[in-house]
């Protein structure tokens, strides 16, 4: 038996020439191939069991399944010799000696996979490959799994035969084998297999090894798509929610992905999220891989922060992600930031948004500067929409948007389109000069876009004083350049400039009669004719230029040019009546008889009847000569797309931005997912201290405690409604005033303590106790005191230290952007042994330096509590005497 050729040598030699572009290879070699298979099977195969395999192989060839006949496979693959080789492989696989020699077997199986890759149908080796699955060799195993996944759908019955082996492998000692077998088992895409998948899958979710767990999590999704009913009965959703606390971050990110997909069609448009889940995930964000982090980032825009502080806190947690070198994660972070800006921006979303965009500007430009072109293109599309959203922020970076010689054209066009949006009085001269260079580029489209962009600066009038005349002058120069497309585009651009700035007439007018002679492109010619009509009073030869065209009326093909000619001549009639009257008559008689274009014909008739019927030419003038110039402040309607833009921003980081269209317009309905922000309202759980988890050890524990005490209510299936997660916090009555501002009446000075209060320094409380005790006291019983400060403490430590010395213990604290926040407690040493729980915040606002403290008393005599709080205030005042 000869050793077959190396896998890639032969096909390559025969293949390359047949794949030259423009020569689509013939693809239907299957029919007479079937015969080959059939004979091969009956000749070589043992009786009985082998025949179905051959049958399936043959059927498969005819059906054109994966990856066989649908592929661009040239005839030459199916020459006698190649068919022989597949048969030879079959013989080799069955050979008893090969069975023992793992190395040799590995080579043969690799060859099978190589053929599969080439698009050769090797499905008739299915039986033999299945026999090879029983091996300790991992390479062989992997390759057989691959083969199996590729051909299982076309050989369902045979595939079922290997279930046993796969199930057994799912219990293998080696986690790698367990994972691989499980993944393959779930990837067979055979609905009848679901019953065999279920048990291994359930076991895998509690496997000791993370590799198996994350494979199992993904497996549940595959099962969901195979059989939704079985999936719903299996209660996997609950398990997946529990697994969000898995120690391995990659398992967690898979859980999020799976839950999101399964619940996409549900009421929430994805996984149900509550505060506990969200904060848990965000606090672990540094553990995720740079793709895993995307799963978490995708959740953030759907989450409504409990309050502004929490919004800021989330931003702080996400800030390091902006430094990632993964462009995908970066843009997802930007999206999360933008959505948070909307949530916490309050009445001034605009300025909050500008802050956010200002923050992400530098990293975004870095991503654009260093990325591969495909990413640069997509990033630029996002920059484009951000520039529209927050004008001015990117202006200083305009040089980054100059085109580079080495860039692909589509990036160049995009940059040219962005440049005018960055123009301001400072940089406009630079930008216009640069665009002027592009205008003469050999690439026609690039030249056109550059001219359009120049005009845009003039039309929007953003270039400051003198920029409009300078642009108009440049456009006029380009008009005189006598290069077909440039002159034509410049003419169209000048029409727009004229509409917005009629005072440019004297500048634009002189070259018009010249240009109208050599511009041949219809669009440009029509534009020039239109301009001649507008500038009739300052161009002496205007009527004569038009007259020439009227004489050649029959040679004009384009209706647009004819209409422009008609209109301009009409307008000129009221400016230069004696010269125009006769030629207009000729033109009208031609145009009313011209039936090539309805619009033209009707206009000509209208003008003709107007002139005939009306005795007073001034009435006609009123109808014909209307001012086209627009007020400077108005935008052209194509530029005024604020509404669309706002809609698009909601779909940031998606194809919609790349296409510049809402996804409703191009994504099929069944794939559209409702976007629901959650939770609908923050239950009392939000009364739990909001702290910056990065600041304080205890804070982290408190978050954790909070999380463990609160199990989300998962939706049971994809369609059933998933209610907003119910609170499990011990007290759910009443809504907590987080900031402690609900009681604006400060404790009157008259309530100053009569009796002194002594505190017990040895008291300790856990986060959980604190929380439950806090919750147990109704908000109505809370007492708020405000202490004006004359200086802002430099840090939280500067407050905690003195308070600690006065036996007021700090549970947690945080340095937030707008304030310092503290969670304090203290216990009365004698008497009623009342426990004081306090939430204090020191405002950083320099105009209103004060410390606001909300105190709840647990235990003790309710009657005397108010006095005691007064005493407590005294203690605090004296402890912080440096600032009070």
């Amino acid at each position: 038996m000869s050793v077959p050729n190396p896998a890639w040598a032969n096909p390559n030699a025969t293949q390359t020439p047949t794949h030259l572009p423009g020569h689509p290879p013939p693809s239907s070699a299957a029919p007479h191939h079937i015969n080959g298979v059939a004979t091969a099977v009956s000749a070589a195969g043992p009786p009985g069991s082998m025949t179905p395999g051959g049958m399936h192989g043959g059927m498969h060839g005819g059906m054109g399944g994966p990856p066989g006949t649908g592929a661009p496979v040239p005839d030459s693959y199916f020459t006698e010799s190649r068919k022989g080789e597949v048969n030879e492989l079959r013989n080799l696989l069955r050979n008893f000696t090969v069975e023992r020699d793992q190395k040799k077997k590995r080579e043969i199986i690799k060859k099978v996979i190589a053929y599969m890759t080439l698009g050769i149908d090797v499905s008739r080796l299915f039986t033999e490959m299945m026999l090879a699955i029983e091996t300790r060799d991992l390479v062989i195993k992997k390759m057989v799994y691959l083969f199996l996944c590729n051909y299982a759908q076309s050989n369902p019955e045979l595939a079922q035969m290997c279930t046993n082996t796969l199930q057994k492998d799912c219990g293998n000692d080696d986690p790698m084998v367990r994972g691989l077998a499980l993944r393959s088992l779930c990837s067979l895409r055979l609905p009848q297999m679901v019953e065999y998948i279920h048990e291994p899958l359930r076991r895998s979710l509690t496997d000791t090894h993370a590799y198996v767990r994350k494979t199992g999590v993904m497996g549940t999704l595959k099962m969901y798509h195979l059989d939704q009913e079985a999936f719903e009965n299996s209660n996997f959703v609950d398990i997946l929610y529990d697994m969000l606390r898995d120690p391995d971050a990659s398992v967690v990110s898979n859980c999020i992905l799976v839950l999101n997909e399964i619940m996409a069609s549900g009421d929430n448009g994805g996984m149900a999220i509550n505060r506990a889940i969200m904060l848990h995930l965000l606090n672990r964000i540094h553990e995720f891989s740079d793709f895993g982090v995307l799963a978490v980032l995708e959740l953030v825009p759907r989450y409504v922060p409990a309050n502004d502080e929490e919004g800021y806190q989330i931003m702080n947690l996400l800030d390091p992600v902006l430094r990632t070198n993964n462009a995908g994660a970066f843009v997802a972070t930007v999206r999360a930031f933008l959505s948070l800006a909307e949530s916490i921006g309050g009445n001034d979303v605009e300025s909050m948004r500008r802050q956010v965009v200002g923050r992400i500007r530098a990293p975004l430009v870095t991503q654009v500067a260093g990325g591969p072109p495909e990413q640069v293109y997509c990033l630029l599309r996002h920059v484009d929409s951000l520039v529209e959203l927050c004008p001015g922020i990117f202006d200083d970076e305009y040089r980054q948007f100059y085109v580079r010689y080495t860039e692909p054209s589509h990036i160049k066009y995009l940059k040219i389109a962005i440049l005018p949006k960055l123009a301001n009085p400072d940089n406009a001269p630079d930008i216009v000069a640069e665009l002027g260079e592009y205008a003469k580029d050999a690439d026609e489209l690039m030249g056109r876009s550059a001219i359009r962009s120049m005009a845009r600066i003039a039309v929007r009038d953003v270039g400051g004083e003198g920029s409009v005349p300078s642009i108009a002058r440049r456009l006029v120069d380009l008009l005189d350049l006598d290069i077909g497309h440039i002159a034509s585009e410049a003419a169209s651009a000048l029409v727009d400039v004229m509409r917005k700035h009629p005072d440019m007439m004297t500048l634009i007018a002189p070259p018009l009669p010249r240009a109208v002679k050599y511009v041949s492109e219809p669009k440009g010619k029509a534009a020039l004719v239109h301009l001649l009509g507008e500038c009739g009073e300052v161009v002496p030869e205007a009527p004569y230029s038009l007259e020439k065209l009227i004489d050649q009326y029959d040679d004009i093909d384009d209706a647009g040019v004819k209409i422009a000619l008609l209109e301009s001549t009409m307008k000129l009639l009221f400016k230069r009546a004696p010269e125009v009257q006769r030629m207009l008559g000729r033109l009208l008689s031609k145009a009313t008889e011209d039936v090539s274009n309805q619009d033209l014909h009707d206009r000509a008739l209208l003008y003709y009847r107007l002139l005939r019927s009306s005795a007073d030419p001034r009435t006609v003038e009123k109808v014909v000569v209307t001012s086209h110039s627009l007020p400077v402040a108005t935008l052209f309607s194509e530029d005024d797309d604020k509404e669309v833009r706002e809609e698009l921003m909601k779909e940031f980081d998606s194809l919609s931005i790349v296409y510049g269209a809402k996804s409703e317009n191009f994504i099929a309905k069944e794939f559209q997912v409702k976007f629901v922000r959650m939770p609908a309202e923050h239950p009392l759980e939000s009364a739990a201290p909001v702290v910056d988890p990065g600041v304080n050890e205890v804070a982290g524990q408190m978050q954790e405690a909070n999380l463990l005490g609160d199990t989300p209510v998962p939706a049971t299936n994809g369609t059933a409604s998933a209610p907003a997660p119910a609170p499990a916090a011990p007290a759910s009555d009443g809504v907590m005033d987080l900031l402690g501002f609900s009681d604006p009446v400060p404790v009157p000075a008259a309530a100053a303590p009569a009796a002194s209060l002594e505190l017990d320094p040895s008291v300790t409380l856990s986060g959980e106790e604190y929380q439950s005790k806090w919750g147990a006291v109704a908000d109505s019983e809370a007492i708020t005191v405000t202490i004006p400060l004359k200086a802002l403490p430099p840090s939280t430590d500067a407050v905690e230290g003195p308070l600690g010395a006065a036996a007021l213990t700090t549970m947690a604290s945080g340095d937030l952007p707008t304030e310092l926040k503290f969670f304090l407690y203290a216990k009365e040493k004698a008497g009623s042994m009342a426990l004081f729980l306090a939430q204090a915040s020191i405002s950083k606002d320099p105009t209103n330096l004060s410390m606001s403290m909300t105190v709840k008393c647990s235990g003790g005599d309710p009657g005397s509590n108010k006095d005691k709080v007064g005493n407590l205030e005294t203690i605090v005042r004296s402890a912080l005497s440096a600032y009070v």
Binding site: P21, L146, P175, F291, G370, P372, P408, S409, Q672, K674
Partner: protein, 319 residues
Amino acid sequence: SSLPVTWLQCKSVRVHFTTMIQSIFLLSPTGEVLIERHFRGVTSRSVCETFWERASANLNHHGGISTASTVISTDPFPLYDTVPPVMEVLDIDTNSTLYLFSILRDGLSYLAACPEEVSPLLVLEFLHRIADIFVDYFGSPADESAIKDNFSTVYQLLEEMCDYGWPLTTEPNSLKDMIRPPTVMGKITQAVTGGSSAVVSEALPTGTVSNMPWRKAGVHHSNNEIYIDIVEEIDAIVDGTGNVISADVAGSIQAQSNLSGVPDLLLTFKDPDVIDDCSFHPCIRYARYEQDSVLSFVPPDGNFELMRYRVRPGVAQGF
């Protein structure tokens, strides 16, 4: 309650992505399918033909460069210039629309077909990551012959990098724990016997339980050394009279680490102020950089890009 009420009413339809890549294809410089991997049902190869029709119609031998690292004059492969990185194609087998993302690296076209709304940058980043891994495994350039020689490794890598269309393991070090890169000895054996060389590690994957997913455990090198290359690209526009219209410098720090154990390194800059903005490898401690402008990190093993940065514009003008 401090909750902004307006937000609760603001429900809008946003097609946020729930699924990812359906199939990945690798095309040779002549448009032939080298590798195909389907994660969610089979995508017809017709999409590759559609793609190639457009790509080859726009073959551009002069302008347009397709990878940041390729230089025009030395690139022997045709480049396509006007094919957008995302295009709509029709899968004629199922009559459904797919979004085809494409990148061009070392002459090979990497295609990802997605059926739904998706974050375009995520897909492109992932495709680049795949190409990076191939370079890491097979050496540069990871071109047609490299893929053909190592196709079974390629399949194994794709298997581990992507599960059901979602990126799974993309860290070179974790991957090398699972799939051993081709060795020199293997390559020689291959040359002599004509067999292919990919060998799978018999060792168990250690998983990513460690808090440093980028570094594998128990690395040992007899020579402990780390090489650091600073690669800076200057883009400048100079007019006819020699005036610099614009100049900017984009740089990256490439490192090759051969250090045993868990080394903790500190890289200080002589003049950190020159750096305008930068993006980091996940191994860099971000807070430390914010505080002291130094890079403190535990490096991955092997080749990696430590950071990317831009030089402050004023400094760049000095050239």
